[in-house]
């Protein structure tokens, strides 16, 4: 068992009390509504906030229903000595589930799921960041899932992109993540954890989960993950649903960025009078 000997390790298989109680609840699939009462293609309420980690260059916090994710961006900082010289910058992502984030206790050390998640987030963000703008340096993104109530990976992608924008890292576009759970005939956008970990059920056919990272204003997909078993047509349909979900989150992200910029970045008039008069004839 890998473990950190300096920590007081909690019991390996501890479970929260409600694990035993509420587990018995069943899905209410009748009428196409989901357990929390929303439609198949409805998103959960989204809350976004920037500037939550004071030490970081930029940071962001995201809630999607009960899923809570925090991302901190550091840099551009110096690349470590062992790396080779590159004219391009480097992006490093680290995804971590907090020990208390899931129903089952997570360990302090990164496990395989977290390592995979880090790679996917990196893959989603890398095409969006102007890496040539900071040669020889790297930007570190640390994402912590505080509570996992489904679609944590999608939330991590969105949150990390918002953190990067808050840090003032040059980007071609922001990235928005969204997931779809396909369960037989049903296609659920932005699944909660109970929809995600559905034990294999009665109906045969397609079962899987699709996560998409989208550059919304360029309309390009930067990351695509497909778990499970899906027919080609279903998969295409699921990806389309994901993209429409991403487009639904994008205005919220944009609003959050605009308001946080207005709040935190002093505008040009305060800096000098000269530039504001220049700007006047350009503004419509």
């Amino acid at each position: 068992m890998p473990g950190d000997s300096r920590r007081i390790a909690g019991p390996q298989d501890s479970r929260a009390p409600h694990w035993f109680g509420r587990q018995q609840e069943t899905h209410q699939e009748a009428g196409g509504t989901r357990q929390d009462g929303r439609g198949d293609h409805d998103l959960r309420p989204v809350y976004l906030h920037t500037g939550v980690v004071s030490q970081a260059t930029g940071s962001a916090y995201m809630e999607m229903g009960q899923t809570k994710v925090i991302a901190a961006v550091y840099g551009p900082r110096e690349i470590s000595r062992r790396e080779e010289f590159t004219m391009k910058g480097r992006l490093c992502c680290e995804l971590k589930f907090a020990t208390f984030s899931c129903r089952q206790r997570r360990q302090h050390i990164q496990d395989n799921q977290e390592r995979d998640g880090s790679l996917i987030v990196l893959q989603a963000l890398e095409p969006a960041v102007c890496l040539d703008k900071f040669p020889k340096s790297q930007v570190d993104v640390y994402i912590t899932v505080l509570q996992d109530d489904g679609s944590a990976l999608a939330a991590a992608i969105t949150c990390a992109a918002l953190g990067l924008a808050d840090a003032g890292v040059m980007m071609y576009d922001v990235v928005v993540g969204c997931s779809v759970r396909q369960c037989g005939e049903d296609q659920w956008l932005d699944p909660s954890v109970r929809e995600e970990f559905r034990p294999e059920v009665e109906s045969a056919g397609d079962h899987g989960m699709v996560t998409v990272g989208l550059l919304p204003s360029l309309n390009q997909v930067s990351a695509l993950v497909l778990d499970g078993h899906l027919q080609q047509q279903t998969a295409v349909q699921a990806v389309k649903t994901c993209i429409s979900g991403c487009q639904g989150i994008y205005p919220i992200l944009k609003d959050c960025l605009v308001s946080s910029t207005r709040r935190n970045v002093p505008s040009l008039e305060q800096k000098s009078g000269q530039t504001s008069t220049d700007g006047q004839n350009g503004q419509t």
Binding site: A128, F134, P135, L268, Q283
Partner: protein, 191 residues
Amino acid sequence: MAAPRVCVPGERLVSTADCESGRGTYVHHGYIYSCLAGYMHKRNLDGKELPIVEVIRQKEDAVPRIGSIVTGKVTSVSGRMCKCAITCVERTTLREPFRGLIRKEDVRATEKDRVEMYKCFRPGDIVLARVLSLGDANCYLLSTAENELGVVLALSEAGAQMVPVSWSDMQCPKTGSKEFRKVAKVQLQQE
């Protein structure tokens, strides 16, 4: 005037037919897009037909570029070179230092072959330098071969802040002893 427009990364600003792309923007398929979350503003430059569109954000990330003036603290001196930790690029303070290196031949413009490193820098000195090149994987290559560049702040052996007396000497106000430095002629920067 209405509040300046706030842009987010990836937002389409104007067509390239109307404007030229400036800082914080990029061109894609004939349109100028924003790279930053910040304020958009247009500038008319003399001799140019089209105004330049820029997106400005105060917290813009600064990394040393070729030709930029950096402020650093000397960390170690050897016979051939001097290492320093870059703490400022132009006017922005860095959150974390970058490693810089001043080679013996880049210390001053004249009598390059007679430079003695120990008579130019001491660990702890604050130096102004210009970035020569991005260097190797380890360090940025810096140069102090200009009158305005070199040591600006130094402590004497007695621990007092020294006063420059010539281009190669600094004097301790406490003990009156002179120490050798590559002294910078500090210029007042106009606001």
